[in-house]
């Protein structure tokens, strides 16, 4: 009950727009000229001091992108994006390679403090926070700081910005970049491949269990910019890593584009757990502004007995277009997808997963909970397929939708393709509203309607919450309460 109480308190303290990360930070920045052509790609590559092969890779992606058209199959509606009216690169002026935290713009540090993201290792060590989390903070187009690098290095784990990885570990990057999401995979992935500015790189060597949670914090600050980050995580044989990403942006009237690509590679017996708490600015109560979140996330269970688990909590963004997927290539590999998608106001969510079973006896599990309130549209779209030769495959899918109010919509679009007889596929989906009986029961025991709704909703999503790292569970519960604020009555 304490959590519910806290949720309500939290709700009360937030401003009218109900988005507490809506502040803007005044930081001088360097931007690429507006618009997109080959010179923009060259500009970004040069800014990053990239080797020739990387530039060529980008140019190839750009050439492919030019020939592609925007996908229109998702159940989302938005005015056509003018890709020439965007800045593709923005970086805080003073952060051209800070050597230590002391060199980072104090304004920037204050911002992260405000967001509750710990960037100071000392504080963490002093026991201010109970668990250690290494953070890579990405501000607009560049990674500003990565914490706990030294300690991770001792364990052999590489955790740095992708720009640094391109410079320092070109062999690893060359081998894995684009191997899960090829340059021409889809419109937004191609765009990202051409203009990605930064992101995180993780390599966990053979047999190593990453000693702490890794985390990236994305922040869009600059106006009219698109953010295109690229994350690449490789877990070598028998390695284990848990990774969390969080995102926020200032409140703005315009729509901003965020097109990220995340690639995960798990080799034999490796395990990657990837959690996302996405809280981009969702637009105001009339649907003005907000982030367009067009993201390609895919994990490749390349090795025997490997495992990739996606957990996502989607509460932000005006439009979400995101399908974290698993290619279950290895025999006995395992894919998991746990999702909570909350939409309110005029948000549009089209999200889900793909479980592509190629390996024998691979298994997957999908638990998706969609909550639609206000005028929002919430769609689950997913694919489960078993290749002809992938025998002994198992999948269980459960997607439940909860509707709050009669102006919203909840949709389920699953594709289930069993190409051999030994595949055991089970799929179930339900849509319902919070039953009056449940609310009545709670209210009769002294809870207000809003408290009762928060309680029921948190119960509804519990299956998924359990799969989040401990530290973020409480935070997420609050987030859900906040996102639904104003949806009752």
């Amino acid at each position: 009950m304490a959590a519910v109480k806290e949720t309500i308190d939290q709700v009360k303290t937030i401003d009218v727009d109900q988005y507490k990360y809506g502040f803007e930070t005044n930081i001088e920045s360097v931007k690429a000229p507006k618009g997109l052509d080959e010179s923009t790609v060259r500009y970004i590559s040069a800014k990053k001091g990239e080797p020739e092969w990387m530039l060529n890779w980008r140019l190839e992606a750009f050439a492919r992108w030019k020939a592609m058209t925007e996908p229109t199959w998702a159940k989302v509606h938005y005015p056509k994006i003018d890709f020439q009216d965007l800045y593709y690169y923005a970086a805080p002026k003073s952060t051209e390679g800070p050597k230590s935290l002391d060199e980072v713009d104090p304004e920037l540090l204050r911002m992260y403090e405000k967001l509750g993201v710990p960037l100071k290792e000392r504080e963490i060590l002093a026991g201010v926070q109970s668990t250690k989390v290494a953070v890579d903070a990405v501000f607009d187009s560049v990674s500003v700081v990565t914490t706990f690098k030294e300690e991770l290095k001792k364990a052999g784990v590489i955790f740095c910005s992708i720009s640094e990885a391109i410079r320092e570990y070109p062999e690893l990057v060359k081998k894995y970049l684009g191997s899960v999401v090829p340059q021409s995979d889809n419109f937004y992935a191609a765009l990202n491949s051409a203009v990605f500015s930064d992101g995180s790189f993780v390599y966990v060597p053979e047999g190593v269990r990453c000693p702490m949670e890794l985390s990236t914090y994305f922040r869009i600050n600059e106006k009219q910019t698109g953010q295109f980050e690229r994350t690449l995580i490789i877990a070598d044989r028998g390695a284990h890593v848990s990774y969390l990403e969080g995102c926020t942006a200032p409140t703005r009237d315009e729509n901003q584009l965020h097109a990220a690509v995340v690639e995960l590679v798990a080799l034999d017996d490796a395990e990657i757990k990837y959690s996302t708490v996405q809280n981009w600015y969702p637009g105001d109560k009339d649907g003005k502004g907000g982030i367009y979140n067009f993201v390609t996330k895919r994990g490749d269970c390349r090795g025997h007995n490997s495992k990739i688990s996606w957990t996502q909590v989607e509460t932000g963004s005006a439009i979400t277009w995101k399908y974290p997927s698993c290619i279950l290539r290895g025999d006995y590999s395992r894919g998991e997808f746990y999702s909570i998608a909350v939409s309110n106001g005029y948000q549009q969510v089209d999200s889900g997963t793909k479980m592509i079973h190629l390996g024998k006896n691979s298994s997957s599990r999908i638990i998706s909970k969609g909550i639609a309130a206000g005028h929002s549209q919430n769609t689950y779209r997913g694919l489960v397929s078993a290749h002809r030769k992938a025998t002994g495959v198992r999948n269980f899918t459960n997607c439940d939708s909860l509707l709050i109010g009669d102006k919203c919509g909840a949709h389920t679009v699953p594709y289930i393709e069993a190409k051999n007889s030994s595949a055991h596929f089970e799929h179930e989906a339900t849509t319902s509203k919070i039953s009056d009986d449940m609310l009545f029961y709670c209210m009769q025991r002294g809870l207000s309607e809003e408290e009762a709704v928060a309680l029921v909703v948190n119960g509804f999503v519990r299956d998924v919450l359990q799969h989040l790292p401990m530290e973020f569970m409480a935070e997420t519960q609050k987030l859900i309460g906040i996102s639904l604020e104003g949806s009752v009555g």
């Binding site: 699953p414 051999n420 007889s421």
Partner: protein, 446 residues
């Protein structure tokens, strides 16, 4: 992006066949105009292909490369004994019979003696005299952009117009037999228009069967438009059992008025390619729908069931259960969409699709969809696919039942759950017999 696509041989042939046969197709000027309009639309769209979302799993352009001679004025000799042979187990069902051979009404093979509360008119006769308004009613069915429907409008030769009088309660089912006969394969299009009057009770059966010895090839395009008026109870069954390289394209377009109760069932077997499209729309509150089906697939057969249930008004109920048995390289497809429109509160919808795969090479693709815009609803769907459970088989065998019998028993009980949805005992028995025969033939087929 629009890409100019080359017309396939079949598309070209169908457009040309229309020009050749236009004068022979029955209909008044208004009807001919509607036909010409339809073929124009078809010519522009072509056959549906996998790039069209609804046809993702059934690429008709690829599967129907050739078209057969269009059936008009067919005069194959068929006797009543032939009809009984073709009907097989269904012949035992005591029913009023309306028979069509290669898409043409045959009064000599029909028997409507003693039928009360029902009026049957052959479509061809109605089309010939149809004034513009009636013609518009006869030709405007279903989604106008659907290529299969436009082809039906262009080429329909006959069918049954059935009117069930208000408050009539039909003692016997009405059996509409669509017989494929003759040594020459035909492309046949038929259309039925059924209206069940207020508070009437009726059972309608469509049987698409072939005469033994008929050509191995045949292409059927059948469309049934059905309206159940206020409080009407309608049971509607379609049996499509063929052989050889038969292609069966079917559309049901059902409208339910307030408090109408509609029980639909479709049985499909022996079709080389079948696409069963069902669209149900609620037009008044309190409507009830129970839609189910069984499909038996083997060899390289391909059976697709695609349905859309549109809850456009509040307080309606829908239930769907479709079960398929897939053997050899057979492919089963189920696409089921439940739409709940804004304001359609208190909707109760449930859908289930299940496939049993008997061979490692079988394939089942399922896409159950929910599109919900109202909050006070209970909707759910499920989809499963699996092979026979070893544990169950073991249980049977440990009780002394031989392997093949145990398998047959389990398959029968699986499909039986769908067949049990058929309330008419005679029809249910006939379907069970047909399913059993299919299973024993499956053994031989191996």
């Amino acid at each position: 992006m629009t890409i100019a696509v080359m017309k396939t041989k079949a598309e070209q042939a169908l457009t040309e066949a229309f020009e050749v046969n236009a004068a022979k197709l029955p209909g008044s000027t208004a009807v001919s105009e509607a036909r010409r309009d339809a073929i124009g639309k078809f010519s522009a769209s072509g056959l549906p292909h996998r790039r069209i979302e609804e046809w993702k799993y059934t690429d008709l352009r690829n599967a129907m490369k050739d078209t057969l001679a269009v059936s008009v004025d067919d005069a194959v000799k068929v006797t009543i004994a032939d009809v009984i042979v073709a009907l097989g187990a269904l012949a035992h069902v005591d029913a009023h019979r309306i028979t069509f051979v290669n898409g043409r009404y045959r009064a000599d093979l029909s028997d409507l003696a003693g039928a009360e509360g029902i009026e049957v008119t052959p479509l061809a006769a109605a089309l010939r005299t149809a004034p513009p308004k009636v013609a518009a009613g006869l030709t405007a069915v279903g989604a106008a952009e659907d290529a299969v429907i436009t082809l039906n409008t262009a080429f329909m030769t006959d069918g049954a117009i059935v009117r069930i009088a208000p408050e009539a309660s039909l003692a016997k089912p009405v059996l509409m037999v669509f017989l494929r006969a003759g040594a020459e394969g035909r492309f046949t299009a038929v259309r039925n228009v059924i209206s069940a009057g207020e508070a009437s009770t009726s059972t309608l059966i469509e049987a698409h069967v072939a005469l033994p010895g008929a050509s191995l090839e045949g292409q059927m395009n059948a469309l049934t438009g059905l309206t159940a008026a206020k409080g009407a109870h309608v049971t509607h069954i379609k049996i499509a059992a063929d052989f050889g390289k038969a292609v069966h394209l079917s559309n049901w377009d059902v409208t339910l008025e307030a408090h109408a109760v509609y029980r639909g069932f479709q049985y499909t077997s022996g079709q080389s390619l079948a696409r069963n499209q069902i669209a149900v729309r609620y037009d008044g509150e309190g409507g009830k729908l129970d839609l189910s089906g069984a499909f038996l697939v083997r060899g390289t057969e391909h059976v697709d069931t695609t349905l859309v249930v549109d809850h456009a008004v509040p307080r309606c109920e829908s239930r769907e259960l479709f079960k398929g048995v897939l053997d050899n390289n057979g492919r089963g497809i189920f696409q089921g969409k439940i739409i709940v429109r804004p304001h359609a509160q208190k909707t109760d919808g449930k859908q289930m699709a299940q496939a049993l795969m008997l061979s490692p090479d079988a394939e089942f693709d399922s896409k159950p969809e929910l599109e919900i815009y109202a909050d006070d609803v209970i909707c759910g769907h499920g989809s499963t696919s699996a092979e026979l459970e070893e544990d169950m088989l073991f249980y049977c065998k440990s009780r002394g039942i031989p392997d093949n019998e145990a398998r047959a028993l389990l398959i029968e009980s699986f499909i039986g759950e769908a067949l049990d949805k058929v309330e008419h005992e005679g029809v249910r028995e006939a379907l069970s017999t047909m399913a059993r025969d299919w299973l024993s033939a499956a053994e031989k087929h191996k």
